[in-house]
């Protein structure tokens, strides 16, 4: 009767050493959904996947599959397959044998399996690779074999743990498109893990931002980007300016030493808030024609980023990150304007500006210790 395919109920994971990796996770996954867990390193993404896959048991809480608890089922009895971060292909088997591993265990007819293997290879763009040794494949190709090996079992849910983490940027972009296509074509529900915010936003139907074993926000990529619920999400999802400010009244915020018109209300009078400004929403104007009520600043640095210029502008004690196609020399005095609808006001929380680990730091690639 439940319309959700997978539901996580108050999932908590405390490891033997007393470390709480998951702290009451509640999530639901619908049929055909592409849901991404996004968060900095160590926030519990892998742990969540392992609980859904059945590789670990939660300390408390429940995992439901179509409304029924599967928390006590071993991995081999769950209709769920996983693409592991390092692919975990079986090195002594060739590509076809790897992909046929699941069907062979089920003693499926050999000819039928061979046909399905060929179909799968076509789906992942590796037609004719049946007899190749897995060690002879490139990272991207191994990745595709791992996906084919999981998909051939027609799982209800496919779990993917940073499947593109080991690939270079260009290949990663290609595989993002490819994965999305495979998901749409196969109609299989994807539970995807990444710490790359751009990847999460481009591929997902739903993004779940996690931090320290807790869910921060669940929403569509647009929701998450445009209306982050707190400074942590805003900071993690993209480069943004997060400024300390106050709500003077409804639809009137005070920051950068000036009052601004905005669209938010209901914070109460003189409530301390965090103000989020996306770099592309901050407009720089020449000081030749003074605009009443606009704060003034000075450009500190200008960097060409390919499509736009990235500028740092100092305004009083604050510093703003600004993206614009129009470059201004460092040292140029400017006036700053922001459209009311581009000002995002958030209640002050413990996740305020100096608290969160920077997204960029968290996203550093983890070096391979093995080998």
């Amino acid at each position: 009767m439940s319309e959700h395919l997978i539901e996580l109920k108050d999932l908590t994971m405390v490891f033997e050493d007393g470390y709480t990796a998951l702290d009451g996770i509640n999530l639901s996954l619908n049929r055909n959904e592409f849901l991404t867990l996004l968060g900095p390193s160590g926030c519990g993404k892998t742990t969540t996947l392992r609980l859904v896959g059945g590789f670990a048991a939660p300390t408390s809480g429940d995992v439901l599959y179509m409304g029924k608890s599967i928390v006590h089922l071993p991995p081999y009895k769950r209709n769920i397959n996983t693409v592991f971060q390092r692919y975990a292909l079986f090195p002594h088997m060739n590509v076809a044998q790897n992909i046929a591993f699941g069907p062979d265990l089920r003693r499926q007819d050999k000819r039928e399996t061979a046909r399905q293997v060929a179909d799968m290879l076509a789906l992942v763009g590796l037609r004719g690779f049946e007899k190749r040794a897995v060690a002879s494949l490139s990272g991207g190709q191994q990745q595709r074999v791992a996906i084919a090996r999981a998909l051939i079992n027609k799982p209800a849910v496919l779990l993917l743990d940073e499947p593109l983490g080991a690939l270079d940027l260009k290949l990663r972009k290609e595989m993002q498109v490819e994965l999305k296509r495979i998901q749409v074509e196969s109609g299989i529900t994807f539970l995807y893990v990444t710490h790359d915010q751009e990847e999460a936003l481009t591929m997902s139907d739903t993004v779940v931002v996690m931090r320290g074993g807790q869910v921060q926000q669940v929403g569509t990529p647009q929701d998450i980007y445009n209306e982050p619920v707190n400074a942590f999400v805003a900071d993690f999802i993209g480069e943004s300016n997060i400024l300390a400010g106050t709500m003077i009244a409804d639809r009137r915020a005070f920051f950068l030493g000036h009052p601004f018109e905005c669209v938010d209300s209901g914070f109460g009078e003189d409530a301390p808030v965090d103000v989020v400004l996306r770099p592309e929403d901050v407009k720089l104007k020449s000081v030749d024609a003074p605009i009443p009520g606009a704060p003034r600043g000075v450009v500190i640095s200008t960097l060409f980023k390919g499509v736009h210029y990235e500028m740092r502008v100092s305004v009083g004690a604050d510093e703003l990150l600004v993206h614009s196609t129009h470059a201004r020399e460092p040292g140029t005095p400017v006036q700053i304007t922001v459209a009311p609808s581009d000002i995002q006001i958030m209640r002050k929380s413990d996740m305020s500006p100096d608290a969160p680990a920077r997204a960029e730091e968290a996203a550093l690639p983890i070096s391979d210790e093995r080998m």
Partner: protein, 264 residues
């Protein structure tokens, strides 16, 4: 100059390592019975060897004991290695030390202590005790060849197998075992080599006239050097060399293959 010194030094080392063996091999084909005199080429001693009942019996003992000991120690050692691998790090390192110790231990100590053990257990020294001793000193070699293969294994492989529907037992036999098989095989060969090669421990733990080849060589040598000993030792040398080559060849080949492949 330093190049010259380096070469001379290496030459000397190789000389001392290989000249004795070379002499042994040369003299096993010497027609003259006296050592130090070359009396022409002959295969006489090899022919004699295979007519000697005692030597043939010893050969059979060596082979039977070697194969039995290698088989048993491979089974025990491989299971042991898998057990060790699944232990926590601290425990594993401690236990590994205990497993390795007998290899560093003086053979004579191992031999004497095994003999004491058998006597204390009222086991009559003979074929059985010989096999048991060989199993005992071969196990560490098997553990040492299997454990690295387990370590090289991607720790996610068993999980991947279970994920695709394999029970833990199926995962072991279909995924883990085939992957560590080369290690198990080289452990077996190494155990066989060690068993064929052993003299000291065998000497202390055999009885009732059960002799293997090395003990036979020893008793023959006590009675006076016969050129047959040279022939027999040459054969043992060649067999052991061949086995060791078989153990190491796959590794060497893999290294070469890796070196010639462009970095990924």
């Amino acid at each position: 100059m330093t190049k010259f010194l380096r070469r001379t030094y290496m030459g000397l080392i190789l000389f001392f390592l290989y000249v004795p063996v070379l002499l042994l091999v040369v003299f096993s084909f010497n027609a003259s019975k006296s050592r130090g005199v070359w009396g022409g080429f002959t295969l006489q001693w090899y022919v004699d060897l295979f007519k000697d009942r005692a030597i043939l019996a010893a050969l059979r003992n060596t082979l039977v004991i070697g194969l039995l000991a290698a088989a048993i120690s491979t089974l025990v050692g491989a299971v042991g290695a898998i057990g060790l691998y699944q232990l926590r790090r601290g425990w594993r390192q401690g236990l590994m030390g205990l497993v390795n110790l007998p290899m560093l231990n003086s053979e004579i100590v191992t031999g004497v202590s095994l003999m004491l053990l058998y006597t204390a257990m009222n086991l009559e020294l003979g074929f059985l005790t010989l096999v048991l001793s060989h199993v005992a000193f071969c196990i560490p070699y098997v553990v040492l060849s299997v454990l690295p293969k387990l370590r090289q294994l991607d720790p996610h492989l068993p999980e991947a197998a279970q994920d695709l529907g394999a029970t833990p037992t199926q995962a072991f036999f279909k995924v883990i075992l085939p992957d560590i098989m080369p290690g198990i095989f080289s452990g077996f060969l190494l155990a066989l080599t060690m068993s064929i090669d052993d003299f000291v421990i065998s000497f202390f733990t055999t009885g009732m006239g059960v002799q293997n080849l090395s003990i036979t060589v020893y008793t023959m040598a006590k009675r006076g050097i016969s050129p047959k000993i040279n022939a027999l030792s040459t054969i043992i040398f060649v067999v052991v060399l061949g086995l060791l080559a078989a153990v190491n060849l796959p590794d060497l080949r893999r290294k070469n293959a890796k070196a010639s492949r462009p970095p990924v």
